[in-house]
C-alpha cells in the first residue's frame, strides 16, 4: 500500500486515490488537422518508463482534487507531488 502525500491534505492511504495516467499529455492544438495515426498516438500511446514517471492522481475520497506526482515505477517511491498547473519539479 502506498502512502501518497496529497498536496492539499497531506499523506493519505493509497485507497483514497484514483489513478489518472501519465501527466503533461497536451491536448493537440488543432485536433482536426491530425491524421488518424497521430490522433491514435495522442489518445492511446503513453510512456512506460522504468524509473521516474510523472502521473496524475485524484484524491477522490478526500479533497477530490487532481494533482501530479513523480513516482518511481520500479521502487514505488514518490519523489514529488505538485498541483495542477505547476511545472514538473526536478527530481533524481
Amino acid at each position: 500500500m502506498l502512502l501518497i502525500p496529497c498536496p492539499w491534505c497531506g499523506p493519505r492511504d493509497e485507497a483514497e486515490f484514483h489513478y489518472g495516467g501519465q501527466a503533461h499529455v497536451a491536448y493537440p492544438a488543432d485536433p482536426g488537422a491530425l491524421s488518424d495515426e497521430e490522433w491514435a498516438r495522442y489518445l492511446f500511446f503513453r510512456d512506460n518508463p522504468k524509473g521516474s514517471f510523472a502521473e496524475r492522481w485524484s484524491h477522490s475520497a478526500g479533497c477530490r482534487r487532481w494533482f501530479n506526482a513523480v513516482r518511481d515505477t520500479a521502487t514505488n517511491e514518490i519523489h514529488a507531488v505538485y498541483r495542477v498547473g505547476e511545472p514538473r519539479p526536478v527530481t533524481p
Partner: protein
Amino acid sequence: MAERRSPAAAFADRFATASKSGALTLAEIPFLRQINVRVDPESPAAADLGAALGVALPVSPGTAVRSGEVTVAWQGPDEWLVIGPEGYEAEPLRAALGDRHGSVVDVSAQRTTLLVGGPRAREVLAHGCAIDLHPSVFGPGAVAQTMLARAQVVLLPQQDGFLVLVRSSFAVYLAEWLLDAATEYVT
C-alpha cells in the same frame, strides 16, 4: 405528507444500549443543515460569504472554524461545508454570493451525522481509519475527509469525540460497523 426519517433512525436503541457503559457514546444527530459553498477564496464574494457566516472561510487545508452554532469546514481549495442546526437557512449565504461566480447548495440530505464520543471514541474509529486521530494533530478545529471502514466520511473532532458525517446510503452500514467495532469496549 410522508413521515421524515433519518438514515440511522433504526439504530437509536442499539446506540443507546452501547452508550450505557460510559466508555463510548454513540448517537445519530439527524437533520443537521449542510450547505456546500464553492467560491474563489481570494474573490470579494468569499469575503462577503465570510461576513454572512460571521467568520472568514478557512483557507488552510484540513481546518474548520466555528461561528456560534455553525461550523465551516474546509473541503478543498475552493470548497467548504457549512454545518448548522436544522433551522439554519442557506438563503443569506445565497444572497451574499449574489450572481457572482460560485455556488451555495443545500446538501443536507446527502449525509447524516453520527456522534462517536466518550473516552474510547478514538480507539473505535482507529479500527477502520488510517489517519492519525490523536488530539495533538487532529483535535477541535480540524476536519478530514477520509475513509472509515471503506466508507467515505467527513470527520470533525469535537471536545469529546468526533462527528462522523456519512452518506445517507452508507449510514446503516457504518452504524453496524461502529457497533461491531465498539463491542470490546461496551460489553
